[in-house]
Amino acid sequence: MNYEPVIGLEVHVQLKTESKLFCGCSTKYGAGPNSQVCPVCLGMPGVLPVLNRRAVEYAVMMGLATGSRINHESVFARKNYFYPDLPKGYQISQYEEPLVEDGHMDIEVDAATKRIGITRIHMEEDAGKLNHGATAEEAGSSFVDLNRTCVPLIEIVSEPDIRTPDEASAYLKAIHDIVVYLGISDGNMDEGSFRCDANVSVRPVGQEEFGTRTEMKNINSFKFVKDAISYEIDRQIEAIEDGEKIVQETRLWDSQRGVTVSMRSKEEAHDYRYFPEPDLMPLVVTEEMISDLKDSLPELPAAKKVRFIEEYNLPPYDAGVLTSERPLADYYEETVKLAGDAKVASNWIMGELLRLLNEENRSIEDCPVGPEALTELIGMIKKGAISNKVGKDVFEEMYKSKKSAEAVVKEKGLTQISDTGELSGAIDKVLSANPDEVERFRGGETKLMGFFVGQTMKATRGQGNPGLINKLLKEKLGG
């Protein structure tokens, strides 16, 4: 029998605010344990939460960027459970009336566009972190660090519209691109700023109702989401074919072993007894606030890609690569503006620049060659001071040493030879060293032209002006 997977993702995004969601403590990553805490986020008796305006604005921006409806009034709710990482005994979240509903995200898989529905985006606070005892003496203890409690998050819940692991990965990537583009999150997956839960079930093809689903928690890479979902689909199909029943449960992706494992310990806790948070007023977002935020939205990746294709006449693939990250798109546009040639700028960035950056896994933001430096190099090639081929070596040297194109060319003596006399002498030597080839060329074997050009380039250590060499060769051989 053929089965169809049904997948939905819940993406947790940490918002890039300075202070926490309900108190003034810093959200900075990496501080010593419990050094960014106060009575509010420690859950002391008698304290009151006060909502961070910027966090609300960021959540609204994400709503707008996903074509969602922004609810003018939404309600915070208490999600009750006991766990040592949650000092209040409840997490402040949103439940029945979230801030954002009914949006969508378009993804591209195998050159086709697919729309994934977004059910809701709600605001909530993060929990703390548990460190487990490592030494024998500490083996029986866990250590609670509450710096992360009350850090602002949005949870983006998709419709069960995803059908393959590749679509899940593409959707996660698209969400990631957007939050980083909007500047509302640093999207750092290693530091936990961007993570997702995946709900997976399978059903026989053609069946209407969904199968029993399992949920995989805290997946923090595009690769893991694909691997975990692939594994889970296979596991469920195998279980069904063996006549077993799928148990609705939470499972954990073990990336070391490449398997999902059941987390039975958390099962009994799934009765959260949500109720409206009495310490917070309903969240009111005015039409004015929404329209101000709408005006402040930057151009998003999909729109930018379309504009790059039209404005710079780029192939869709190149436009896609260049708009995948906002700093890269900015770098490209800056170079086009300076160098005045969209195609040449794209060739350099798509070719040499990204190759070198990818080799070192470096981001465009700390690329040693800036748009001005690249423009200077492009200018030297245009002028004919160096050939395109030499230009690539010069670029690599600029990348390594941070020197300017001119400095590198001067230092290495790479200036292109455009002196007719000098080139003419080199060509004469090549021709007299290869009398047979000259004979054959004159006998009609014109494709030998390439051979003579190559030999002359070699003789000039790649510095001969190719156009001029061609011209001189034609004169000499034709005569």
Binding site: C25, N34, Y81, S142, F143, P278
Partner: protein
């Protein structure tokens, strides 16, 4: 809605409480009376009445995103029964 001793035990377990059998019997009776009272209230016709989540006037009070120094680590941990490694120390939590 009638509350049973099973409900009481479930809620107690969620709150990490372990009541005795007598406690459960006592609470079941008390909770039944409370719920009966609420049931009485719900006899009222509230058709077309907006639910109230707060009695205070709705206002959009928010704070600006500014960092305010919180507690020193030792003050944060002061009332904790057990602490070590600048952290609250609890019995090991098994994942």
């Amino acid at each position: 809605m009638a509350i049973t001793s099973k409900d009481v035990r479930h809620v107690a377990a969620l709150a990490r409480l372990s009541p005795t059998d007598e406690d459960v019997e006592l609470y079941t009776g008390q909770l039944q009376r409370i719920l009966a009272h609420v049931e009485k209230i719900s006899e009222l016709d509230t058709e077309g009445v907006e639910p109230i989540t707060t009695t205070a006037p709705v206002s959009g009070r928010m704070r600006e995103d500014v960092v305010i120094k919180g507690l020193m680590n030792e003050d944060a941990l002061k009332n904790s029964p057990l602490s070590a490694r600048d952290s609250f120390k609890v019995p090991k939590i098994i994942e």
